[in-house]
Symmetry: D2
Subunit: 263 residues, 4 copies
């Protein structure tokens, strides 16, 4: 399907503040960007680099006053999300080098603490895709989805105690459980068409059957309409904006995803 | 200044043909992309990757029939090009690792054959920026600029024999001469505002005084208005399109650069 | 000084077990490897790759039975560790791209939780090197160094509660405090001449004054004799061995560091 | 088989001279380094980096006087070289991103000039491995192997005119012919057991059937005993030493390869 996405951020900046933004979607297998806009008001010098995970990141120093970031894109993305029940577990020795780092514990995914729990949740499952599907089912059954309930990222251990969370929390716990079974898993941030309530979104991918598959425990059914902004080990790697120095939160954040007619 | 750039390509494809395109400008120190469009007709799956030189490249297979690529961008770019007469030569041992490969000879820049000639052209110059400036002056005085005279890239040795060439040829010979003096030099392709006649353009950069500087022997004066599409060792690395299999040339190529009013 | 280092590991492997090892020191500014040995008994196929942090990692599958890894090296390393009281803080916008990831929280360094504490510890210090030195002094005064007391990595938050730890714990807490002040900090594992008791060692580096400096809160005085095996965000990135599947701990680990006469 | 390799180089240095060396073999699928030595006399600071092709390169400045480099290694390498007659051609769209650059023409492999010739040489062959085998057979039948006849690299076009050459020349022409058929091909330098006369060696690899295969037109039969020092597009990328500034040739170069008893 063809989607229009936009994310506008506004900040009230007291003193020159360095930012790293991750708001430029990349074209890849699963999405193709046909039009894109990225404007800063006021205009400031920006330097863009590619991080360790292949994301395009924008560095800049926001000047004092109101600082606004307008981004939008037109994106071709899949109508359906690939699913592959039965897709096998990939032994560590057969994983591509680049995916090995997605086996390690990370800031918000303490996979070293979830071995027992993941084994119980996935008992009787075929190793691979079906284990991840069982984890997603467990998350849906046991963690309360409470969008908007949290601003500060908390870790999988904390989510598991609270038994409720936002999309990011679902992803963190799902990732931690996968990795504890030696299944590479990574965080994805971006947009989802018809997300309720509309906002930026987070989900995760797991590497089984020789490729990455999309999983999203916040949705009853996996449907198409995902647009990726960034990949990483967890929320620490894929903040849509990282701001350094005295905390400056966005005074406004407007997210929009609309379906466009096919060209 | 604020520029609108576009490049449209049309091909008549006889049989499914793999392409690698390099038509997405990156935001960096010297340019900031505020709007971009990249459309393929008919639409086909595309995969984008970053090459060894940091360029965004698009891989696709063009289907039989008319295949058209439309790209455009709105870009903030410098009003003036930095110049630094007197900027010193950087000793090899002080170069960043990443720039070392720009010292080596490459397909169209046989720098291993130009040591004597480069030494003569730059005699009496301070080592560094002034050597490169002397090379540019020599190119302007000795090579006839004949835009449109060549379709197939030829090498610096061949250009030096012909004593005439297109912008790409000027860049190749300039690069070969710089590298033979142990000055890193690289090819740039992109757009130039008010280029006559309007077309895609090629120029080169040399690393002196601790950074890359722009040089363009096809222009009487260095003015602002450059927009970069890609960097590489020479034209082999920075083809705007590389097509594999039976040769398929563009049946149409339309390039446009216009100045926009400041926002 | 010229050092001989060795690390021998023995495992009792019940079932074929994938490993990723990080036991090959790299030559760099601070150390030069003149001789190296890396033997596996029994011999098995190994594949070596470079991870995101530039470390050489060895992938293999250990066969059932006794599996032994013998590594040794002869290394030229600095007699003294560079120190730079007064070296200034580097503003985020001036950091090299590659160092930005060392500002983010990671598995064992929850820097997002230490802002207040780091500010108090470093009150009245010049920003930069002196802040890090104050953090090291605080660690020495407040955390009990208890080598051998822990096998499983714990995080900076946990170390701060326990108020005691091994070298790895000191590094984690030091790193978390630095990052919370927007000073890039990274974990280092390797060898230290005359370490008591002799073992593999962990310390940290902080990026101030335009380069990385060594810090080690486990030592009363910074002396030379460090040999680096790997860099990373924290212990999750720089495990000397990562083993996947059912837990298999080393049945023996012998570490040796000796001074050699200069050649 | 288990091999001992060594390469000693001596230079008479008139004035401080920057070098980039490529004399440290990497452990990979096809070889495992169990012991290695790398000594410089006199000892100087060295910095090691990984180039675009994954090779470990050593940067240093040689001081005036006699400068000697001693390197040796003990290497496990295959007894036989994999061969795969019939292995299919890989379509460009199915190549890994990293291999695409091995399709492009390079300094000494002007593949853009060999399309017709390569088509004739490989007429009637299955596309893929058999085409490369036909190229090797053609090289053996038509180019005179004259070891020691050349010091300065010449290009595939020049080799094809001379109809004779050293191992490097055979590799360059073989690579150029492969690439003109859209088969990725790369240069390899290293050692070969029982090479006559003993020296450093160069050969090439072609990517068919989903992996790289070894080809060596200087040898009547492909046997095991290859040890790789570096990979690249051609000799410009894989010089065992690159020296900058006034030319300084090695006054002595001693190469040795011996078979060791299995451990």
């Amino acid at each position: 399907m063809r989607l229009y996405t936009s994310c506008d951020l506004a900040f009230e900046i007291p003193t020159p503040t360095p930012f790293v933004l991750m708001l430029r979607p990349r074209s890849g297998m699963q999405q193709w960007i046909t039009r894109e806009e990225y404007r800063l008001v006021p205009s400031v010098p920006v330097f863009e680099f590619t991080d360790n995970y292949g994301n395009l990141c924008q560095r800049l120093v926001a000047p004092p006053g109101i600082f606004t970031v307008y981004t939008s894109a037109e994106v071709m993305t899949a109508d359906d999300v690939d699913q592959a029940p039965g897709a096998p577990f990939v032994a560590v020795q057969d994983l591509p080098d680049a995916e090995l780092s997605y086996l390690l514990p990370s800031r918000y995914c303490e996979s070293d603490r979830f071995g027992q729990m993941a084994t119980e949740i996935t008992a009787d499952q075929l190793v691979g895709y079906d284990q991840v599907a069982a984890i997603v089912a467990w998350l849906r059954a046991n963690i309360l989805f409470a969008p908007g309930s949290s601003n500060v990222p908390v870790s999988a251990v904390e989510v598991n105690i609270k038994q409720s969370g936002v999309c990011r929390d679902f992803a963190h716990l799902g990732i931690a459980l996968c990795r504890s079974l030696t299944i590479p898993a990574r965080m994805v941030v971006g947009y989802l068409y018809e997300l309720e309530p509309m906002d930026l979104h987070a989900w995760f991918e797991a590497y089984v059957g020789g490729r990455w598959y999309t999983f999203d425990a916040t949705q009853a059914e996996l449907k198409g309409g995902y647009v990726v902004l960034g990949y990483g080990r967890d929320a620490a790697d894929v903040a849509v904006y990282n701001q350094f120095g005295p905390a400056v939160n966005a005074t406004a954040q407007t997210v929009c995803v609309q379906r466009l007619t096919e060209e």
